[in-house]
Subunit: 245 residues, 2 copies
């Protein structure tokens, strides 16, 4: 384990917990954070409930360097994330004049009070943009408010990358074997003891004829990651590994 | 909202938070619970860390009727769920004689100490089986310990269904429109006010030419669900809805 910057995600929406929609934003966020050298340590999925969300925002924003919320930022009754984040940080919700202008110019004569609800932000929030992504992303302190709609969620990621700064990216290497975890355990224990800075994972695969267990070696120092993987390979019996990544 | 039985899930594994593996068990669990009339209210994803997992098990098992953990039940160094659950419930870990017998008969002369680690269970846990699924699933009080490997996770679900009891299943109906959420909001507010027992959701879809927003109506009383959906349809302007489910 490294002392990398840490992050948490709060994924909001009844539709995810009911199993009606397969969550699709988390893997994109996780991979972006890895490439930035930030460790995603915790994810919470919760219902569209203002008190539950506010409580999670308090805990997660205090426990990690960054918090990313997904969902609940539209204009309808089930969109309560803005209010919940404001409640968590004990600030009022205001209507931002620049967002109102944007919404009026986007919806033109069709603009209603409901559309203008999307100008509501927690007081003190900043509206983050890049030259390529001019529609603002709301951030309050260390908490980024992202939309749940996957296509829009992914469009916002470059804005975050632009603002977060970059640390050494996490590097991953893998070894595939036909051994089972019981036989691999003593070999893995030796590597875990010798490379405490490397995160070693073991993933059995069922119903795959090409391998039985995938071993992964992760860290922010590529030389150490490769050394841990290669040291593990030297411990394997004849005929192994099946392949390396 | 109904006063249905509630559940939480604790999804364990570094590989999920790193984005290397797309989580695949949650949607199956969520759909199973809906069919049993149990409401999944919260999901937490956490790393392979014994203290983090134990802390989550304490909180989630106390806050909900059922808790399901996924992952961390194999024999390697990163499998710490058994120890974490034992710690959460303040019981020791023991080696279960019947599990030892099962493991010895499965691995035969290849059986090692590492394989026998999979006989370890929290003291007081029960080993749940069905006639079709004789490999035991570990349960301690209201907490079910499920494996992370998706193929095995899914095999375990019938055991849970058999033991959990059945309440009225959740029913869902949907309406697809080409209206945007801003225009739909006042109509939705009217339905939410008139049908407080129905969970109304609004999901915009981008880049789809057949509709713009999907509205969902969920509950455990089918008559009320259909009534809420039909009441909503009567509020729509001419040319809507695009379709009903």
């Amino acid at each position: 384990m490294t002392d990398a910057k840490t992050a948490a995600a709060l994924i909001i929406g009844n539709e995810l917990l009911s199993g009606k929609i397969q969550e699709g934003n988390l893997a994109f966020l996780a991979r972006m954070l890895r490439s930035l050298g930030i460790r995603l340590r915790r994810v919470v999925m919760t219902l569209d409930d203002i008190d539950d969300i506010a409580s999670d925002v308090v805990t997660l924003s205090q426990s990690f360097d960054w918090l990313f919320t997904s969902g609940g930022v539209g204009p309808t009754h089930d969109d309560v994330t803005i209010d919940a984040v404001a409640k968590a940080f004990q600030v009022p919700v205001i209507s931002d004049p620049s967002m109102e202008t944007l919404l009026r110019s986007f919806y033109k004569e069709r603009c209603t009070d409901a559309h203008l609800r999307m100008a509501r932000i927690p007081k003190g929030a900043t509206l983050e943009t890049t030259p390529e992504m001019t529609w603002p992303t709301v951030r309050l302190h260390n908490t980024w408010l992202l939309p749940g709609v996957p296509e829009i969620f992914r469009m916002k990621l470059p804005v975050i990358i632009d603002k977060l700064g970059k640390y050494p990216a996490f590097v991953s290497r893998a070894v595939y074997t036909k051994m089972d975890e019981g036989d691999l355990k003593p070999l893995l224990d030796a590597i875990v003891a010798a490379y405490p800075d490397i995160d070693v994972g073991s993933y059995p695969k069922w119903f795959d004829s090409s391998y039985k267990t995938k071993l992964t070696f992760d860290g922010q120092d590529q030389t150490r990651v490769v050394a841990a993987r290669d040291a593990f390979v030297t411990l394997l019996p004849a005929g192994e590994p099946q392949r390396l990544d």
